[in-house]
Amino acid sequence: MSQPILEVHDLSLSFSRKKVLDRLEFSLRRGEWAVIAGRNGVGKSTLLRCLAGVLLPDAGAVARSPEACPAKTGFISDRLSLFEDLTIGQAVAFHRRVFAIDDFDDRLLGRLGVKQKERIRSLSAGERAILHLSLVLSQKPSLLLVDEVLHMLDPYIRDLFIEALIEAMTAQETAVLTVNHTFSEIERLPERVLVMEEGRFVVDETPEALRGMMKKVVCRGPLPNGLPCFFSKGEGEYKEYFIYPFSEDLRAAHALDFQDIALPEIIKAFIGGGYEQKRMA
């Protein structure tokens, strides 16, 4: 699990004269599950596309270990791009031929009850996502890049999706990199949380560490001095203050109730903070 499967150095990419990725540094190890979070339009999908080879960087390098070659990299974009005129059977056959896949596990598709003759164009988003996932997993990938697709899926398909990912991780030690907004069902899955802002990662921690580093205080009136408030929310009497970086001596110094917050809220705070910084810039 310790060898890096992907190493990104100094990655820069501009899109329509806007710098989207700015000397981004990042590495991923075998079997690691990292999640990328950030506000809309910050460049998460762009980064994923860059790692998948769909977009090419202006500067910097993406170093892949030999096991993360293009044939062993799976990419599911939020556009769920496939050849829409093909039927499911044709798409599977095409994918198998191109990637030289001997056996194709169609249990996932079977659970949806879709017919081989149906055209991709007529599938729902969820069915397409599962199809895409089946195709990509049949490659036995060692690197999986999944853009934000979970929110498109109904709860049952979402479950199937996540279970399939877990299966891949146990079977192949697949490294998984996902982009997520919603964390409701997957908050225990990522081992690393990366928050993207201004074209690079501003946070790169384990969820446990993050939970230790950010606490919430709800009180009336302003916050006492000396507390590093990263982000505050609320218009009324009671405001939510997110303290980051938090340390235990702050608990001793101030007689406040520092609440533990779960990962989704931490992420939300980071995103909110990002918006605030953008407003002030």
């Binding site: 699990m1 079997g31 991780m169 225990r188």
Partner: protein, 121 residues
């Protein structure tokens, strides 16, 4: 087997897994020689990262409560004498939690003793 992970709990997920499995062993749900669910199955069930489950299993094995059978997963081991020791440790843990909670609510030691006496009846 009753296994849920409390997201709000300050306890990291893998520790919760360890606790839950130890509870099962204590309550007799898991006996010596029973197979533990595969990492894959448990991860899928609990929506946990397989590494997390692996970590828990590793800790269990280190503690002596499981044995790794290469190829066919892990099986439960209840080392002789460890069961009682475990029971003791778990109770102590719960008791400490109870005390902390009571103190934070403002109860004194006498109040707590009275509560226990009343419960005995």
């Amino acid at each position: 087997m009753n296994l849920t992970i409390d997201a709000k709990s300050p306890l990291p997920a893998y520790q919760q897994v360890i606790q839950a499995i130890k509870l099962e062993i204590l309550s007799g749900g898991l006996r010596d020689g029973d197979p533990l669910p595969s990492i894959r199955d448990l991860a899928k069930l609990l929506k946990l990262n397989p590494n997390t489950v692996a970590k828990a299993y590793y800790a269990l094995a280190a503690d002596g409560f499981s044995e790794n059978r290469s190829g066919s997963g892990s099986i439960v081991r209840v080392p002789p004498g460890r069961r009682d020791h475990l029971r003791q440790a778990m109770l102590e843990g719960e008791f400490r939690n109870f005390l902390e909670k009571a103190v934070s609510l403002g109860f004194s030691l006498e109040d707590i003793t009275q509560l226990i006496a009343r419960a005995k009846k």
